[in-house]
């Protein structure tokens, strides 16, 4: 074949993260909307101010059961009819509870947006919460728990949160409750949680998609505008605290062919000015296959299919009192668990000693900023990010500003941020794997005291 020199890029075409328009309905519901031409499936995200820490003592999981029960019938439809009506619109409706609040997500073709929003409004405004459906959801949830514990990724997360965070904090316990707490949940508890925490005045709806020909104001008025509720008392978020002294917890899974790794510690609120530099530095450490961790663990040694480092917001508040999880995760073959961890720690130490290179920083900026138009092609991606910003008490232009700030982060700053984020002696390491094969090699590494749990 004839070879040609590597081509140069053409002139970049401008792209900005979409700026939403903000308004409010008469019932106090905050509305953000954004027209995205060509996106024929409209994404609707509703963020409810019902955080997990608001669950009553001993009823962990009630927010989850309430979220799931929103689609189990309304004042107009039984549970079966409601599911059928949704599907008749070609819509999907999902709801889940996480630390900052409950999120309800509707996706529906633009041609059926009004019908979809009508059903969403019914679910929020007048959920029936029938006794027998709640009872079934509780039984289902109980049946799910053993599956989560059998999944190495989930098992590692449960163990890390339980050990890292102080035991009296809601955040230390599974988001969807434990067997003991879920068993106590009934329809009365669900109704009480709804009555206390769900109201339009503290909720936000985000609508994104091709809204050509949609009279959004009118459509919202006749659907979500019918939802009524009182004013809420202001909330004060509890502080989040953790002990990230370096230590190792081995969760025994006899016979496992791989060890699931999860090394984590507590990080700052997303409002911390370090965040953009930390995003950049964390990408250089373990954002992709060409980052430092995979360059050694995957592409040189073949120990893993992939190891990633990330920062995940747990809760973020305007006063900066929230927290994030900084972690490294992946799985490695059982027999190389010791050498893989030794390499992983060496990568962290080398990073602390030598820092990032200008080239690494440059490539990371080009990627993180450059992929933005790809990442936000779909309505659902834009809506999800806008709703996250609301939930995290960030300004509506946060994502747009983040790209500008990322481009300004220097190598020294990115190095400082990632070294501060991942100090080798302050990681709680959870290893889900065959204890009989991995405990001894791990003890020899000197990365902290080793405890084995079942």
């Amino acid at each position: 074949m004839t070879f040609h020199p590597k081509p140069e890029a053409g002139p970049a075409r401008p792209w900005d993260f979409p700026a939403p328009e903000r308004s409010a309905l008469d019932n106090g519901l905050t509305v953000l909307h954004c027209h995205r031409p060509g996106q024929k499936v409209v994404a609707v995200e509703v963020s409810l101010d019902a955080p997990l820490y608001a669950e009553p003592e001993g009823l962990d999981g009630v927010a989850t059961i309430m979220a799931r029960a929103l689609s189990e019938g309304t004042d107009k439809h039984t549970a079966e009819e409601f599911a059928a009506e949704l599907e008749r619109c070609g819509a999907t409706l999902d709801a889940h509870a996480d630390h900052p609040g409950v999120r309800v997500s509707l996706e529906v073709p633009a041609s059926r947006l009004e019908r979809g929003l009508g059903l969403l409004a019914d679910a929020l405004r007048a959920p029936a919460f029938p006794d027998d459906e709640i009872e079934r959801l509780v039984a289902n949830r109980l049946d799910e728990i053993p599956h989560e514990l059998a999944n190495p990724v989930r098992r590692a997360a449960v163990a890390l949160y339980a050990d890292l965070f102080d035991a009296d904090q809601r955040i230390s316990r599974p988001r969807q409750g434990s067997e003991e707490t879920v068993r106590r949940i009934d329809a009365d508890a669900v109704r009480a949680f709804y009555a206390t925490h769900v109201r339009p005045s503290t909720a936000t709806v985000v609508v994104v998609g091709d809204l050509t020909g949609v009279g959004l104001e009118g459509v919202l008025g006749s659907t979500l505008g019918e939802w009524t509720g009182d004013q809420a008392k202001p909330r004060s978020h509890p502080a989040i605290s953790a002990d990230d002294t370096g230590r190792v917890i081995v969760v025994d899974r006899p016979g496992a062919v791989q060890t699931q790794l999860l090394m984590g510690r507590i990080g700052s609120d997303r409002h911390d000015p370090v965040w953009p530099a930390q995003v950049l530095g964390t990408y250089c450490l373990g954002g992709t296959l060409t980052s430092r961790l995979d360059r050694v663990l995957r592409e040189e040694k073949g120990y893993t299919y992939g190891v990633r480092a990330f920062g995940q917001v747990l809760r973020s508040s305007a006063d900066g009192g929230g927290a994030s999880m900084l972690a490294i995760s992946g799985s490695v073959a059982t027999e190389v668990t010791g050498p893989a961890l030794a390499d992983l720690w060496q990568v962290l130490r080398t990073l602390a000693e030598e820092g990032l290179t200008d080239d690494e920083r440059e490539v990371a900026v080009q990627n993180l900023v450059g992929v933005a138009p790809l990442k936000f092609e779909t309505a659902a991606a834009v809506a999800g990010t806008l709703a996250d910003q609301v939930e995290q008490e960030l300004p509506d232009d946060y994502q747009a500003q983040l790209y500008a700030r990322l481009a300004d982060v220097g190598t020294v700053e990115a190095t400082a941020a990632v070294v501060r984020a991942f100090p080798p002696d302050r990681l709680v390491s959870v290893l889900v794997g065959d204890a009989s094969a991995i405990v001894e090699p791990v003890k020899e590494l000197g990365i902290g005291p080793v405890t084995v749990v079942n």
Binding site: K6, P7, A12, G38, A84, N140, Q258, S331
Partner: protein
């Protein structure tokens, strides 16, 4: 050199989809499909090679997928991991996947970086063997073995798909094994195997290139010609083994697995009509009505009313050169045995074979499938992949444009008929999981319809060389 472009046939797009495409062919046989859409400044490059695990031979299962990994290990002008590095530092994303019937490689780029992606794909199509060495083979062999452990061997029910496929397609059939392959065969793959595989299957006339997005079609075609046009085509590809089989298995196959899983499960694979036929679309609708969501018959019966199961779903794995598979996945509620579930399933399927869908059920199923299609078309990468799919599997990218309309035309009687013909006990392979762990007595589960659907849609069948997704 020079190309013969077919006339612009792209103007007849279906109104629901708004997708148009033009088709061209270079002198070396490379087919090029272009679709312009300037709403967002991005461009997707997608390259499908007409080779998948069905082309593998006994003793070398997993080779197509292992080879896909080697395609990211450098070529004549792209050292080491340069393919990843160059795309990522241009603000692009990329990956490759391998299934039974094809291997695909794709980059989504900011529009002004399109040319780079074409240069990279051409370099490895034309010169991979210059760079391929034993060191990268050994390394990627270990990576792929860890991929297998992570996705199949180290998770509960992880090998279910492999077991069902092996029952539904008999020993010796090209689809008897899944793309991930066996550990022993991965160990056995040699550098010479990899080289021979490349020489046999990685030719321009065995591939389709689709470029979709904010592109100048004329310029894009000129770039395709410039970079790919001098790669010689060849006809060294042997005729693939015949994948045709009787429409029904003829008996009920069954395997009971005693494993440390969290709950009992009943799974099954049914042989269904081949992709590309109207009957396959009818089967898709039948599975959607029966097990495609929260208003489906199996969900209402097993989960909602009888409370035998925590999740019950049906998915369709479309296959073009062998019978498609209908994939049933039911995880039992605690204390429920598999017989009770199976009896309820049989009753529902028999009733459906008799009655067919109600008009409301058919409307819902069609609306769901239409939305799924719109979702796939919401990204330039999704559109490029669909254009390649119809080109490689059915010889005509324009077929992608009418796919939704074809599903909407299917009648209730056709849906009933395919169910009556195929969703029968003598046309299925059944897999029952019996838990052996300490909680075996009161075992249980979640599982949901979406999981079942994803598994059968080929997600579990594919190995990807890198997991997508990053958090910022």
């Amino acid at each position: 050199m020079g190309h013969t472009a077919t006339p612009d046939t792209g103007s007849a797009a279906t109104p629901q989809v708004g997708l148009t495409a033009t088709e061209h062919r270079l002198a070396n046989g490379l087919r090029v499909v272009l679709s312009q859409d300037s709403l967002t400044p991005v461009a997707a490059v997608c390259l499908w090679y007409d080779v998948g695990s069905r082309h593998e031979v006994k003793g070398r299962t997993g080779l197509a997928h292992l080879f896909e990994h080697l395609m990211f290990q450098g070529s004549a002008n792209v050292p080491g991991n340069g393919h990843f590095e160059l795309v990522q530092s241009a603000g692009g994303s990329l990956n490759g996947t391998t299934s039974f019937e094809r291997t695909n490689y794709f980059e989504t780029m900011p529009a002004h970086q399109l040319e780079l992606a074409l240069w990279l794909e051409a370099d490895r199509m034309g010169s991979l063997l210059t760079a391929l060495d034993l060191e990268s083979l050994d390394n990627q062999r270990d990576v792929v073995k860890n991929e297998r452990r992570q996705r199949y061997d180290n998770v509960p029910y992880g090998t279910a798909f492999e077991r069902l496929v092996a029952m539904a397609f008999p020993e010796g059939h090209p689809y008897h094994h899944t793309p991930i392959g066996s550990m022993a065969d991965l160990d056995a793959a040699s550098l010479e195997d990899a080289r021979a595989f490349f020489r046999t299957y990685y030719a321009p006339n065995n591939a389709v290139l689709a470029v979709v997005g904010d592109i100048d079609p004329e310029q894009t075609l000129a770039w395709a010609e410039k970079y790919f046009g001098s790669i010689p085509g060849h006809n060294g590809k042997p005729a693939p083994r015949d994948g045709s089989l009787p429409g029904v298995i003829g008996e009920q196959l069954r395997e009971v697995v005693h494993e440390d899983v969290p709950s009992r499960a009943l799974m099954a694979a049914y042989r269904l009509p081949q992709d590309g036929t109207r009957e396959a679309d009818a089967a898709d609708l039948a599975l959607t009505v029966l097990g495609g969501g929260e208003s489906s018959r199996l969900h209402n019966r097993l989960v909602r009313r009888d409370r035998l199961a925590v999740g019950a779903g049906f998915g369709l794995l479309r296959l073009a050169q062998a019978p498609s598979l209908g994939w049933l996945d039911i995880k039992a509620s605690s204390g429920v045995d598999a017989d009770a579930i199976e009896a309820a399933v049989d009753e529902e399927l028999a009733r459906f074979a008799e009655e067919g869908p109600t008009p409301e059920e058919l409307e819902r199923a069609q609306a769901q499938i239409e939305r799924e299609w719109l979702d796939r078309l919401a990204t330039v990468g999704g559109r490029a992949d669909e254009l390649c799919r119809y080109s490689v599997l059915f010889g005509d990218p324009q077929l992608a444009l009418g796919a939704v309309s074809r599903v909407l035309e299917v009648t209730a009687e056709e849906v009933r008929a395919v169910a009556a013909a195929r969703l029968r006990p003598d046309n299925r392979a059944v897999l029952v999981y019996e838990p052996t762990g300490p909680q075996a007595e009161d075992a249980q589960d979640p599982g949901n319809a979406a999981d079942a659907g994803n598994a059968a849609d080929g997600g579990n069948a594919e190995g990807s060389s890198e997991e997508a997704g990053d958090e910022q």
